[in-house]
Amino acid sequence: MVWTALGAFLVINAMLLSASLLVFAERRVSAFIQNRPGPNRVGPLGLLQPFADVLKFVLKEDVQPAQSNKFIHSMAPVVMVVIAMTTAALIPFAEGVVVADLNVGVIMLLALTSISVYGVTLAGWSSNSKFSLLGGLRSAAQMVSYELSMGLAVISVVLIAGSLNFMEIVEHQNSGGALLGWNAVRNPIGCLIFIVTAFAETNRAPFDLPEAEEELVAGYHTEYSGMKFGMFFLAEYVNWFIASFFIVTLFFGGYLVPFEPQLIALFPALEGSTLLALLQFGSLMLKVGFFAFLFIWVRWTFPRFKYNQLMKVGWKYLLPISLANAILIALGVVLFGAVGL
């Protein structure tokens, strides 16, 4: 119990720290992509920039718009932060290292992520601004539409692994030889659909319509300032980081070190040792780092969808494709067996 509490505390702090690092990383990488220096004045290489930002958030006035619903206006960012942080409890960091090892982990993940629709919609509705309302509605329709395809992509993984537990899904990818066991290899269409829907669910470009600045000023957080705006910002970056974790966990072998069975065969002493756990954590973080980078890369490369295109992609393409993919994967499991390819 004490260890669980300590673990939960550590995970939340790690998420806070990585969110601030990601803010910095995004600003520097986008600057690099656009051939300009980016923030490089606060601290060595500008590394203290996120902390300066946090100070600004706390020290600035928190403006409450007139005729807004004060309670809902304050609670919307709280919902966003709580949901973003809670999802981190489900991530397996190494073999047996997870805050909440649920046998229905996958369902819990989808349940938690769908609650964040409430945060965005309530923020938009309670601000008493037309831009916020439109942003909130758009975002509700968008997240709801892409949630279906995301659920179906995850179902195709569950069909292969035969379990709803994240740890078991990761361990299952250890079978079938080296990297070939990764679900990205066995289920490439599901992997692509999951990555696309992860972008849509986290409201990241090219799916950042809820906050399309050219049309909606800042979307659902137009009327937010000070720390409440900072909390939306924090939730967005934590969501993005956690989305990378789940892309890796479900499709890219999670914490598994590449060629782990062969490595253990070479050095039998590794089995169950702390060194292996550290190696697994390192390999997880490398993979997650790549996908976190992918989120930035895509944001500064692709233009934003129009709203009608967004709905068209979600309902007319992704949904039928992901349904067909789930059935195809089921057929594959029957024909080729669950373990081999």
Partner: protein
């Protein structure tokens, strides 16, 4: 069984504590000097026209309804997916796939009808 969920609730409690602390810190440390112009809802520098809580496009309700239909479908697929391996082991794999394909087909016809009727067209 229920004990598995205790860490999750602990995480929710910690996250709630963090979020409320941030709110309280900002409320106590930050200045608060509201004025009429400052609290006015933003409308590109003009005085706001009317209330924001007005009617909006019926398309959003349509999307919500279609979502519920398909979400229930996906909910039906979860137990099927979770117990799929035991079906395969007992040799009923192809049978349950056929049943689910029929179920999915009926819903896809519904989606096709909706698309043909223009329920998901946002081009106007």
């Amino acid at each position: 069984m229920f004990g598995d969920f205790v860490p999750l609730f602990l995480m929710i409690a910690l996250a709630l504590g963090l979020a409320l602390t941030l709110l309280a810190a900002a409320a106590y440390i930050g200045p608060s000097r509201p004025s009429e112009t400052k609290t006015m809802p933003y409308e590109s520098g003009m005085d706001p026209v009317g209330s924001a809580h007005e009617r909006y496009s019926v398309k959003f309700y349509l999307v919500a309804m279609i979502f519920i239909v398909f979400d229930v479908e996906v909910v039906f697929m979860w137990p099927w997916a979770a117990s799929f391996h035991s079906f395969v082991e007992s040799g009923a794999g192809l049978g349950v796939i056929a049943v689910l394909s029929l179920f999915t087909f009926i819903l896809l016809v519904g989606l096709l009808y909706d698309v043909k009727k223009g329920g998901l067209d946002f081009e106007q």
